[in-house]
């Protein structure tokens, strides 16, 4: 291009409100998403703490909340799951870091549609307020779990919390769907249309690929959840029978007849399985980025990594039935779903081996982001290995709805994705806030969290195999489960310690934001475009210069290059020609 000077689509805003509240700048919006998710994760964590305490001391009278009644336990569980899945695991990696980093990494001044971007954030925010409101209405929060199976979720009188609370829950999810759809649209258009000169698809950092594929999954999946939610609202409030069969609730015949709860399960899981990849794919991207940077080696098998993510996304839409083996489906369908589910193991394994290959013989720097990326790989393997077990219909009949499943999805989706978020936070914090986080406390935080999560979630597999069912509030009186109480107690203590350790993280975060040592432009000596601009980046990301890309994203240890890394925008003037 003839002129390197650019005119940014919108001028830098003046005034507090336009600058920090209703900002159009993707960096501000990314940070807003990040803090929303941070708030949500603390709410979700607090709920889980209450659950763990209730499990082993069911009659304890707790400060503020009092004694937890069985139905309140179910409310805690529902809100914990929903807040964590939607407002943490979907919000932070994609809305937060995707928003902040993706445009810079492809050399763009902003997202394709900045106004839409602002709207997606504020819509998500409203969704969060609505779901929190469910706690405070008569009847309290709903009881039906994050999966919202009817008829429990579809009948107002099915229990406390299934009235207004459940309506708020569905409304919040519908709002979240719309927000995510707007976000996905923006991410896809940005990635396809705003890449800088020379940033071909196969030169995009794997983080960009992961956000891009996540956006495609979101675009195709959230619409389905939205329609499922509309049907649920109609069943609840308009007397239709999409999901509700002829049913008697507490001695009262309901007006419904002929609906099928399985219809919800199909629609929900058609969204639900892609959703678990929406949560984990950005973590995979960050892990690839960080492993390569801190091993000072190119990512092993870049193309294989891209194709593996595409394959995971593609197969992710064909395996929803593995959540429904117990629904009385035809054994032939179960067989098909089982095989397809096992197929996802292949690209997952490719990724795992490539991560190991990346670290192999690297000059590894064990900074906190790296620790978290390695932790991600560890959790992905331990959580992933139980997947193929659950994918066997025969085994799943035993394991379904037990703590085995809870262990599986917490390791792989819950904690692995959280580790991805931690890796991203420690890695991009210098760029976002201009200062470094404290290394020592970062490492302490890492080791407590790693040990803690394994201590909480590994024993769950044994509990499950021993027959401990999921979503039961009280078992201390159940004869065959009393033997498991010591293990449960251990898990609760582990949870208390792990949750306490998270305060190390927040304190480190806020302290470093104001008091941390100033960060240079490229503290990790990384290669991608966000490290070529100033720290923190100017309003239009590159200060009026249009970056031009000459290299792939992971050129470490290039022979002949002056340093052990080659920035993506390096015009390679040192080449001998």
């Amino acid at each position: 291009m003839a002129t390197p000077v650019s005119v940014h689509a919108h001028a830098a805003p003046q005034g507090f409100i336009r600058k920090y509240i209703f900002s159009l700048d993707h960096k501000v919006i990314g940070i807003q998403y990040f803090f929303l998710a941070l708030t949500a994760v603390f709410v979700g964590m607090f709920l889980s703490l209450l659950m763990r305490i209730h499990m082993i001391w069911p009659t304890a009278v707790l400060p503020i909340v009092g004694e937890i009644k069985p139905e309140q336990y179910l409310s805690l569980l529902t809100m914990h799951g929903t807040i964590m899945v939607f407002f943490v695991l979907t919000t932070a990696p994609q809305g937060g870091f995707g928003n902040y980093v993706l445009p810079i990494q492809i050399g763009a001044p902003d997202m394709a549609f900045p106004v839409l971007n602002m709207l997606s954030f504020w819509t998500t925010f409203v969704g969060f307020i609505v779901i929190i409101a469910a706690f405070f209405v008569t009847g309290g929060a709903p009881l039906h779990g994050w999966t919202g199976y009817p008829p429990l979720s579809a009948v107002q009188s099915a229990g406390p919390g299934e009235g207004l609370g459940a309506d708020l829950w569905i409304t919040s999810i519908a709002i979240f769907c719309i927000a995510s759809l707007m976000g996905a649209l923006n991410f896809i258009t940005t990635t396809l249309d705003l890449r800088a000169k020379g940033m071909s698809l196969m030169r995009m950092p794997l983080t960009v690929w992961s956000w891009f594929i996540t956006a495609i999954l979101g675009l195709l999946a959230f619409g389905v959840l939205l329609s499922a939610g509309i049907l649920l609202l109609l069943d609840r409030n308009m007397g239709t029978s999409f999901y509700v069969p002829l049913i008697n609730v507490n001695g009262v015949m309901m007006g419904h007849k002929g609906g099928s709860p399985l219809l919800w399960q199909h629609l929900f899981w058609f969204f639900g399985h892609p959703e678990v990849y929406i949560a984990i794919l950005p973590g995979m991207g960050v892990t690839s980025q960080v492993l390569s940077t801190f091993s000072r080696k190119p990512i092993f098998g870049y193309k294989a990594m891209v194709y593996a993510m595409l394959a995971i996304g593609f197969f992710g839409f064909m395996v929803w039935g593995h959540h429904m083996f117990m629904s009385g489906m035809s054994p032939y369908s179960a067989f098909a779903f089982s095989i397809l589910t096992m197929c996802i193991g292949v690209p997952s394994a490719i990724k795992t081996f490539n991560w190991l290959g990346t670290m192999w013989k690297g000059h590894i720097r064990f900074d906190t982001p790296m620790l978290y990326a390695i932790g991600f790989v560890s959790l992905f393997v331990s959580g992933g290995l139980s997947g193929p077990f659950l994918a066997q219909p025969v085994l799943d009949i035993q394991l379904h709805d037990t703590y085995f499943v809870v262990g599986h999805f917490h390791l792989i989706m819950g904690v692995a994705a959280i580790f991805g978020i931690f890796a991203a936070t420690y890695y991009w914090f210098p760029k976002m806030f201009g200062r470094m986080m404290n290394e020592t406390w970062g490492r302490i935080h890492f080791f407590i969290t790693l040990a803690g999560t394994y201590a909480i979630f590994m024993p769950m597999h044994y509990l499950g195999m021993a027959g401990q069912t999921r979503r039961y509030s009280q078992f201390t009186e159940v004869a065959y489960q009393t033997k498991l109480i010591p293990l449960q107690t251990f898990m609760t203590y582990a949870a208390i310690i792990t949750i306490a350790a998270q305060f190390i993280f927040v304190i480190n975060l806020f302290w470093s934001m104001f008091k941390g040592p100033k960060a240079s432009d490229n503290p990790w000596e990384a290669t991608t475009l966000e490290w070529t601009t100033t720290t923190p980046p100017p309003h239009d990301n590159f200060g009026g210069v249009t970056p031009v890309v000459h290299h792939g994203p992971y050129e470490y240890g290039v022979p002949g290059a002056p340093r052990d890394y080659v920035m993506q925008n390096d015009p390679a003037t040192y080449a001998a020609h």
């Binding site: 050399g107 675009l219 239709t240 999409f242 792939g552 040192y574």
Partner: protein, 243 residues
Amino acid sequence: MATYTPSTPIDHLGGIKPPEPPAGGGDDGRSASFPDYRARLRRARLGLICGIATVCMVFISLTSAYIFRQGLPTFDGTTNSYVHDWGSVNLPWMLLFINTALLLASSVTMELARRNAARQAALAPVESIPGVSLGSERSFPWLAITVLLGFGFLAGQWLAWIELHNRGFYVNTNPSSSFTFLLTVTHAVHLAGGLIALLWAATASLRHKTAEARQIAVDISAWYWHFMLVLWVYIFALLGIAR
């Protein structure tokens, strides 16, 4: 030690490639400078395609629910047997055909408006040359007519819902009527969104937008509007044929 030259292929680990001349791939730097008209149009259309994909997913899932619910045998407690309770709806055919005709007509006027706006946008630079005038006669108000026809369609749908109520079909009468209301109302909501976009585009010149910005707004709403027509024909066929 090998020197790092563009001709040294070090590709066995993936990722590393000799620097290619920075061509192709990205959008050639258009993005970073204030995007020109064609780039902005393409970007907006790309966004629209994503939006349409989403709406398609909504209706695909509603359709699969439709087919699923229709084929579902339900247990009838009174006779202890499985029955099909899909039921039927007595559609106001005449009204719906008139509505279809309205929407069809609006799609035609919309297309004329779109082409009109495209022409204006193309001529805009010429108009700005001092002394050059392309005549001040206002072009035919195709957009306004489209908006009217769109409101006509919505009003017609409203009448159809009233007529259904008069015939005794409510959203909870039977599964068939539930889906009839569900699909038509969901479509109407999406169409109303299109109308808002149209009004936005129509008032673009009042809000001091450039001819190009107006053209982009018109273009996007036009394709969305055509999509709404196709969607309506599909829904009508589903309700009419797969009853």
